[in-house]
């Protein structure tokens, strides 16, 4: 494989290979990550390269996959644990809230948990029920838990490296809808993309569109089609890290454009768009020329595959949302 042309899941895989080769404290484990190479092949080849002490299959025990990562990381390792699908993060909420996120805090910095929990998240791949949840907003609300969601192959590898290097826990949600949907130049060697920095994907002056992860490609598609259709200049921000959130980049953008649309896949009420809107309200209210419009999943469970495409925001719906924002229309 050359530098170019890695898919997002290949970027995960390459990132894991690179990090494990560079730092022998890195341990990868989870269900089926060994011989099977992960159900999406994200851990393909790792057990052959690094052996079964560093690449470990686990029982179906999400609680312990995450709980043991807290322990392993305090013991000097850099665990990168996999939860097979985002729908299986809820069982570990207790370990995230009560242990992972606060061991540094409880021990006044004596202990810390440099651990990464990876999980493919989101819908659109015709998976079974309970495989497609997008509850990042609930997780980003937990103090001390960093939540990172890459949107491109390049960012994926770079953010994963930063997450592994970071001294505190990171929940790393991978947009599985785009695992194999596109390719990008991803360097072979080690590099990092910093946590806590949003990326301006496109400069513009009329409206800011904010999204992350799985909704970045449809957002870009929507913006393209919109710019094709009408004379509008859109700024697009990829949040990348939901917690800690890069508020400056977002606030600065809105000060310039005066209008914003937020796009995410999780349910609307209490979704992460709410925090973005609240932040903008606090810091840039007087610049706001129109209500910030939210294009999101509905306040319903994500359907099984038969109807999931109706639940997920898609380019036409996103484009329509941006148009509403431009027209100054608020509301649902």
């Amino acid at each position: 494989m050359t530098d170019a042309n890695r898919t997002l899941v290949e970027a995960v895989n390459d990132g894991l290979h690179t990090a494990m080769a560079a730092d022998e404290r890195v341990i990868v484990y989870g269900e089926d990550v060994g011989d099977n190479g992960g159900v999406f092949r994200a851990t393909d080849g790792l057990i052959e390269a690094f052996g079964d002490e560093r690449v470990v299959d686990t029982p179906i025990a999400e609680i312990s996959i995450v709980g043991s990562a807290v322990g392993l990381s305090m013991a000097g390792f850099r665990p990168v644990a996999e939860i097979q699908f985002s729908g299986f993060i809820p069982p570990v909420f207790n370990q995230l809230v009560s242990m992972a996120s606060r061991i540094r805090w409880r021990t006044r910095g004596e202990h810390n948990a440099p651990m990464v929990v990876r999980a493919p998240y989101g819908g659109g791949v015709r998976a079974l029920e309970h495989h497609s949840e997008s509850l990042e907003s609930a997780y980003a609300h937990v103090p001390g838990l960093q939540v990172v969601i890459p949107g491109t192959p390049y960012d994926t590898k770079g953010l994963l490296q930063s997450a592994i290097d970071d001294p505190d826990p990171v929940l790393f949600l991978e947009p599985k809808l785009h695992y194999r949907a596109g390719r990008q130049e991803v360097p072979d060697g080690q590099y990092s993309v910093p946590l806590g920095d949003a990326a301006v994907r496109r400069k513009g002056t009329d409206v800011t569109v904010i999204s992350w992860g799985s909704m970045m490609p449809p957002t870009m598609e929507a913006v393209d089609s919109l710019e094709d259709r009408r004379d509008v200049d859109v700024e697009v921000i990829d949040v990348r890290t939901l917690s800690p959130l890069d508020r400056e980049t977002i606030v600065e953008s809105i000060k310039k454009t005066g209008k914003a649309t937020v796009v995410h896949e999780g349910p609307k009420s209490g979704g992460f768009a709410a925090e973005l809107v609240a932040t903008l309200n606090e810091r840039a209210l007087m610049y706001l020329e129109a209500p910030i419009h939210r294009v999101t999943g509905f306040d319903v469970p994500i359907p099984m595959l038969g109807m999931e495409d109706y639940y997920l925001p898609n380019p036409p719906r996103i484009a329509a949302g941006i148009e509403r924002t431009l027209a100054g229309e608020g509301g649902v």
């Binding site: 029982p59 299986f88 306040d299 319903v300």
Partner: protein, 389 residues
């Protein structure tokens, strides 16, 4: 409430040997209950009390499981079905167990027991719709079938609660919680099994131990315990091991366990079997197991073993099986046609069943979405033509 002057913990005698005070798992693997051995041999007197028709019935259900599995996988390959989890190799385990349930019993499936759902009365059409990702398929209350618990372990506490409720009622019904050998590793399962023991909930924990949880072998990575049956010790409930490829043993063990359960004794039945096919249509088992292992089990597959019994009992005549298969395939064709004819009730479905009454915000979201779709036919196009993952 009160212990009077009793001590509150069961004390046990004092003993000055640590070894005597240590509880370990047995050195030898505990036996499996078996009525028909791997070579099809059996003691005719030990067979369960089933008449010829019932025996043929069992066989037919096993064939149906096999046919459904094969054809669903084919449909999936052709893009006409979502991810499917085949039960090939586990026909005896699936059929023998569910056939032993009573009319009034409730099934909590997890996904790899098509025939169990069908035996309960779920239409084959709905089974297809389920694997096509249609929520309507879960409308099986009349057949006492709950939605498969794809999120592993989630149905265990729920099923235990349901059983608890059944136990409080008049009916002598039980809840049969089907699961695999990976399930007992979860917190949900273990919390629920202990809870069942305390509540005397009439819950049957039916474990199809097919040797793997996707790629992870039961005995090399799932647990250090030798068996699932022995796990009952943790919860004060009995565990029975049965040869899961011997349909009559499964039937008999589950029948007896079911009565024990109905008396308020939650019980584990561990059915020792093997998954011959991939974990699901997304899985490539060659990554984690050798062909000769599969061959070893293929030689011991359950349909042949039962066929031998039926033949030596003179119940199954030449050509009977072909006729059955033809008939079952036709049932499948008809169900498939019915499934193809299914029409979704549209996007309203997404909104209306979250609560009893649509709250204002959901009503607004639905209304907006309807207006959007009306105004943007391209959205339908987008959805229809989007490459599916």
């Amino acid at each position: 409430m009160s212990h009077g002057i009793e001590q509150p913990v069961p004390l046990g005698e004092g003993n000055s040997s640590i070894a005597a005070c240590t509880i370990s798992q047995p050195d030898e693997t505990p036996p499996r209950y078996q009525l028909v051995n791997e070579d099809g041999e059996y003691d005719p007197d030990s067979l369960p009390d089933l008449d010829d028709e019932e025996l043929l019935d069992l066989f037919e259900w096993m064939l149906l499981q096999e046919i459904v599995d094969e054809r669903m996988v084919t449909l999936q390959r052709r893009g006409e079905m979502g991810t499917y989890a085949s039960g090939r190799g586990q026909e005896a385990s699936i059929v023998g167990s569910s056939y032993a349930l009573r009319e009034e019993d409730w099934l909590f499936p997890y996904g790899r027991e098509a025939a169990a759902m069908l035996i309960q009365g779920m239409p084959l059409r709905d089974l297809m719709l389920y694997w096509r990702g249609v929520e309507d398929a879960n409308m099986q209350k009349a057949h006492r079938v709950f939605p498969p618990a794809i999120a592993i372990g989630t149905h265990i506490p729920v099923g235990v609660g349901y059983a608890w409720g059944l136990g409080l009622g008049e009916e002598d019904a039980i809840a049969a919680l089907f699961h695999g050998d990976g399930h007992p590793s979860t917190g949900e399962f273990q919390s629920g099994a202990n809870f069942a023991g305390v509540m005397n909930a009439p819950a049957l924990f039916y474990c199809q131990n097919n040797g793997y949880s996707i790629s992870v072998p039961f005995d090399e990575g799932q647990t250090a315990a030798q068996t699932v049956a022995q796990k009952g010790m943790a919860w004060g409930i009995d565990g029975i091991r049965v040869d899961g490829n011997d349909v009559l043993a499964v039937y008999d063990a589950v029948s007896q366990a079911r009565e024990h359960v109905a008396d308020g004794n939650p019980t584990i039945v561990e059915s020792v079997t093997y998954r011959l096919e991939a974990h699901t249509t997304n899985d490539d088992p060659s990554r984690y197991r050798e062909a000769d292992e599969v061959d070893w089990w293929e030689e011991r597959e359950p349909i042949s073993r039962f066929r031998t019994v039926l033949e030596s009992e003179g119940i199954l005549a030449d050509g009977d099986e072909d006729a059955m298969r033809q008939e079952l395939n036709q049932q499948f064709d008809e169900a498939k046609e019915a499934a193809d004819g299914y029409e979704s009730r549209g996007i309203e479905e997404l909104f209306t069943y979250v609560y009893d009454e649509l709250p204002p915000e959901l009503e607004r979201q639905l209304g907006e979405f309807e207006r959007f779709l009306e105004g943007h036919p391209e959205a339908h196009d987008y959805i229809d033509h989007r490459p599916k993952g």
